[in-house]
Amino acid sequence: MKPPVWKRRTSAQSLLAWFSWLLLVAVAVYCWKAMNENTIWEFVKDSPRQIAEIGGRMFPPKWDYFPTLLKPLWDTINIATLGTALGVLLAIPVSYLAARNVTPSLWVLRPIAMFLIVASRSINSVIWALLLVSILGPGLLAGILAIALRSVGFVAKLIYESIEEVDPRQMEAIAATGAGNGQILTYAVVPQILPSFAGISVFRWDINIRESAVLGLVGAGGIGLQLEASMNNLAWSQVSLILLAIFSLVGLSEWVSAKIRHAII
């Protein structure tokens, strides 16, 4: 007797899979061509020399420039921290309105909250900063608000998703005691989302340290201002020091946020 044959896919399915891969490769090749229509290959060929030259001017970094960077670095940390705090504060009511299982109004307030989340998320913080600098003038305040406005959507989206994943039986149990809606929220929902709430906030702070480092490029304060000035002056040894400083700052924030998240969870 012939042993039974088993195949993961029928021949028609295999053929379909094969053609899908072929199509994917064809699209990739086409995209590559379309993307590079405007590339001037002479410049690209030249790039190793350019890298060597700029790299050479960057090295060694201008260490005695460092004290001037301390204030802007501190500003950058402040923009990120205050911006995150403000963003998280604004995100709390928005996520409450957006979470399907607790929202007080599914057809009016929830769509508004969803719109706020999408609006905040679809605009990059550099663009928020550009807008705010032209409204408020350059400085830290514009940076803080830009970070906050960008963070609201991100934080609110993640919080409302974790609210929607809450164990509904705990809400039932509290409702069954005759508790009001506010009590159901503080007893059954808040304890369940608290760890992810803290994790999300710290994660966003970590991202915001990186984002606030470039906000200075558009005049919203922080280390980015120095970066732009140095690049405009072709002071490459200062640029390399600034990049090193940003790198260390980001590394530090990553370490801090990992520590905090570990402590919470």
């Binding site: 705990q170 409702a175 005691t177 005759g178 508790a179 009001g180 506010g182 007893y187 304890p191």
Partner: protein, 274 residues
């Protein structure tokens, strides 16, 4: 005294979970609700405190029709109905004491409850009940640090702190081992007797229901197909509730899981009677 009359529940999906269920539970009586999964046991007890909104029919607790109550009066009515859940439904990250005191939320304002400032009388009562269910030693332990049986005891304490007239008990032993199941059932029965509480207990374990609950209601596809004493659960009746099966054998084998002697006797008596 709970009187359910012609209660029906149709879910938005079109499923008829309950059809014309009428049931009356006098004060102090314990009723076991058995039936196959999906028979509507859970829906029935959730309709009583309107965690599920009934589609039609009336539910009268001490003469008042709960189905007609608005939000505020419903909350007041829920304070008098304790509920014990399958897999306890405790707030895992809160302490034992917070979980027990949550039974008083219906009586305490939002900010008082937010800052955990419960009246001294409630706290004293909570300690007393915790002692009674055997958990007096660790009010400050987090709920997720307890064993399954201990958690269910906290759930029982929470329901009792409401000082209810009626207990709704939804599969209290579903996640517990046979020995703990019996301890929990015994505890629930004793507490109901001490306080003169009536209770409706959803339970899928027939021998356990027979051992502890004097009156059994059998539900099948949303209709009551048996309502009578636990001794009346003959193989014919079980077939009416669950469908064809060799009931004599099933009962014996389930019973071997570590039943106390008394309970074994009871079940055997039922078998003899059939």
């Amino acid at each position: 005294m709970l009187e359910i009359e012609k209660l029906s529940k149709k879910y938005p999906t079109g499923d008829l979970a309950l059809t014309d269920v009428s049931l009356s539970v006098p004060a102090g009586q314990l009723v076991g609700l058995i039936g196959p999964s999906g028979a509507g046991k859970s829906t029935l007890i959730r309709c009583v405190n309107r965690l599920v909104e009934p589609s039609s029919g009336s539910i009268r607790l001490n003469g008042e029709d709960l189905t007609r109550f608005g939000k505020r009066r419903l909350r007041e009515a829920r304070r008098r109905i304790g509920m014990i859940f399958q897999e306890h439904a405790l707030m895992e990250r809160l302490t034992v004491m917070e979980n027990v005191l949550s039974g008083r939320l219906g009586y305490v304002g939002f900010w008082k409850s937010f800052f955990r400032r419960f009246p001294g009388q409630s706290v004293a009562e909570a300690f007393k009940i915790l002692d009674r269910v055997g958990l007096g030693a660790f009010p400050n332990k987090r709920a997720d640090a307890l064993s399954g049986g201990q958690r269910q005891r906290v759930g029982i304490a929470r329901a009792l702190l409401q000082n209810p007239d009626l207990l709704l008990v939804d599969e209290p032993t579903a996640s517990l081992d046979p020995k703990t199941s019996r301890q929990i059932m015994r505890l629930i029965c004793e507490l109901c007797a001490e306080r003169g509480l009536s209770a409706i207990v959803n339970i899928h374990d027939v021998p356990l229901a027979q051992a502890y609950l004097p009156r059994i209601v059998g539900l099948k596809a949303g209709r009551i197909v048996y309502d009578g004493p636990a001794q009346g659960l003959t193989p014919e009746v079980l077939t009416r509730i669950y469908g064809e099966e060799d009931w004599a054998k099933t009962e014996r084998s389930e019973d071997e899981e570590g039943a106390g002697e008394q309970e074994t006797l009871k079940v055997e008596k039922v078998l003899e009677a059939s």
